[in-house]
């Protein structure tokens, strides 16, 4: 009779149905989890094989009823019993989250296929969470979604450990540690994953202008002076930001941030000496717009600068420009002042849900020389393991540079320091608004105001 009344009741009913539907789709996993732990013993392959095809396209939104149940099925039984002797037919799925580019992802899948050939019970799924892997991982943790590993540079360890995402694997990986040529990143004394490649900056020079790698900084200074004829050409292409100039601060014995004490070191006299050295000996030869990455790279690519300081990620563009070049470590000033650029290690992070199989896969991937060879050949990755023959001179150049690397801090407290150093650079190195001493003192004060004294 009353239309409005009917509409109102209808609305209430719809809301109630929606709420009930929401609750029912959210909760079932809890009870079904316990029940589905028994089935796999009897019906192994059929239940687990369809799952990966479902998980890859729809990772997050529509998960509730279908996906958590099957994916947990293979992984949960493994930690509880000692998994050394499960029935061989037991399928294990390793979920790996990443933000690799398509080219890298293809190579990674290829390598994973090699592994699954010899381990038929294992299935490796790569799930692309670009462009914001960090948010994806943190969101997954708060909803309880399970995955085994994720791939990113090592500087997230501190944050991810604090967020409860990672589990320490010190004992599991102890046997493979001697195989690495670099220090394994740790947070508060524990290892949370293994690296497979390193990135740092080195000197990339145009062979037409610089035939031989400079042996000392004096050689480099000569080259820079020779070519510094603005605006036709400049002494060097150098992106002046905290990451790229860190080599000179660390080389002088200074530091931005000490991971052990979690204190900033900008006001340390050796850090100031490092900033001063860069400003006095390198800065005058840097081309225009020194803080802009693209400007600096294009100076080198157009032949307006003999050398560029950059990392492995820039090599593709250099090759495309048809430049005949070499890669060499930043040259030492003297025997005690050796530039130590910040280095990042790309690594697998082990989440709290990682199965033993996932950890084994990570150990194989990071230490097997064959894998490293494929990564060198196909992606130009700089290896981090010992005893590896590198044919590629570019990778060889970066491999040399990595020996002097200063690992990027893993503590979350580093985050505001990046900005503080950037301000020092902008105020005192790129411009002359302040002296370096004044700028670092202001930066220290600013960091103190952010609770980092």
């Amino acid at each position: 009779m009353n239309k409005n009344l009917l509409m109102g009741i209808l609305a209430v009913v719809i809301i109630i149905i929606a709420a009930v539907a929401y609750l029912t789709t959210q909760q079932p996993p809890a009870p079904t989890q316990t029940t589905t732990n028994q089935p796999p013993a009897t019906s192994t392959t059929p239940t687990s094989t369809p799952t990966p095809t479902q998980t890859t396209p729809t990772p997050l939104p529509t998960t509730p009823p279908t996906t958590p149940t099957p994916t947990t099925t293979p992984t949960t039984p493994s930690p509880t019993p000692t998994t050394t002797a499960p029935p061989p037919a037991q399928k294990v799925t390793i979920r790996i989250w990443h933000a690799l580019n398509p080219e890298e992802e293809a190579v990674f899948k290829e390598i994973a296929a090699l592994y699954t050939q010899s381990h038929p019970n294992v299935q490796v799924i790569f799930e692309n969470k670009a462009p914001d892997l960090q948010t994806a991982v943190l969101a997954a943790i708060s909803t309880g979604e399970k995955f085994d590993l994720f791939i990113w540079a090592h500087d997230w360890i501190g944050l991810m450990v604090e967020a409860g995402v990672l589990k320490p694997v010190d004992n599991d990986v102890a046997d493979v540690l001697p195989k690495f040529a670099v220090q394994i990143p740790q947070y508060k004394g524990h290892i949370y994953g293994l690296p497979f490649t390193a990135e740092t900056v080195a000197l990339i020079c145009n062979k037409k202008m610089v035939p031989e790698p400079p042996k000392t900084f004096a050689d480099l200074a000569k080259i820079m002076q020779q070519y510094n004829k603005p605006p036709q050409s400049y002494g060097i292409a150098y992106i002046v930001n905290p990451y790229f100039i860190s080599a000179w601060i660390h080389g002088a014995g200074g530091y931005y941030f000490d991971d052990k004490t979690e204190k900033q070191g900008l006001t340390d006299p050796r850090s100031i000496a490092g900033f001063e050295f860069f400003k006095k000996n390198v800065m005058p030869y840097v081309g225009p717009n020194p803080t802009d990455y693209n400007t600096q790279v294009s100076l080198f690519l157009s032949g307006q600068a003999p050398c560029m300081v950059n990392g492995p990620w820039s090599i593709g563009a250099v090759k495309k420009a048809g430049i005949d070049f070499f890669v060499a470590p930043l040259p030492p000033v003297n025997s005690s002042y050796v530039p130590k650029p910040y280095g990042g290690l790309k690594m697998f992070y082990v989440t709290i849900y990682a199965s033993k199989e996932a950890i084994d896969f990570m150990k194989w991937f990071t230490t097997d020389p064959e894998v490293a060879k494929i990564l060198v050949q196909k992606l130009g990755y700089v290896p981090v393991i010992k005893d590896i023959q590198i044919q590629d001179p570019v990778v060889q150049g970066f491999y040399e540079a990595i020996k002097n690397v200063y690992l990027m801090p893993v503590s979350p407290k580093m985050q505001p320091v990046w900005g503080a150093v950037d301000i020092v650079i902008q105020n005192a190195i790129v411009s002359d608004q302040k002296t370096i001493t004044q700028a670092v003192q202001d930066a220290a004060k600013d960091l103190c105001a952010r609770g980092l004294c």
Partner: protein, 307 residues
Amino acid sequence: MRPQLLILPGLLLFLFFNLWPIVYSIYISFTNANIRNFPQPPPWAPEELKQARPPPDFVGLANYASIFTGPASAGFWNAVLWTLVFVAVSVPAKVALGTFVGLLMSSEKVLGKSVMRAFLIVPWALPLILSVVAWRYVFDPTYGVVNQMLYSLGVSKPPDWFVNKDYAYAAMVVIEAWLAYPFIMTVVIGALVNVPRTAFEAAQIDGAGRWAVFTRITLPLIKRPLIYASVMTAAASLQFFLVAFLWNFIQLYDRFMLAYGYYWAFGSPFREYGLAAAVLSISALVISVFMILAIRLTGLMRGMYES
């Protein structure tokens, strides 16, 4: 069934989407929620996750103590003070600019008014991110128009409008004035349409000059719409955030209240959500008090509940 029950669905939706987030964020401000424990895993989450992420502890007024006397106080007072300075500087600038352009665009002596009005509305209509990018070019320390002009005027070292805290802040005032003047202008144009022409003619016959006409006739007649627009735009200035965030957040984070709250939630090492919620609750309180006072003092609502 009683008819009042029919508002129930709407009421429930309102409570769920409007009131609950407010109540919840106030609750968060009394806890030590941070990246270690917030958000909490759902009840069906695996046991190991629940162990790794214990629930946030109730810390009482600790976050508020930190804001008013503790480690966050210096930055917070700084942010509040500079936000109020921002309101004090940018609101008169916006209103003056908007009124001036509005009067100009209402004058009979200006040709092509409708076309020009359309162009003057542009800042209002552009997506904010586009405006900020455009302004970044204007203020670019090396190539920007502003610094090129300063060069030609003989300033040997023009300021860096991104990196220098005070100059960046000054740039914020300019951008905010540019972003908001179309609003004032529109209100002024709209108000002037309703002003009878006879008032101006009478004043002119009586021998009043331009300034006298403006202060004695125009301003009193468009007072109420103008006050309304000023209060609204003052609220926008108090909530200024996005432009500063896109401009140079590491320099401007402690110059605006909302930016300071954002800093603690997403820029601090351990993402202190609890502290951020406290900062933003206080900011909301400051803004509310400001708005209530502004409305009371200007008598904006007077007569609203009569008739």
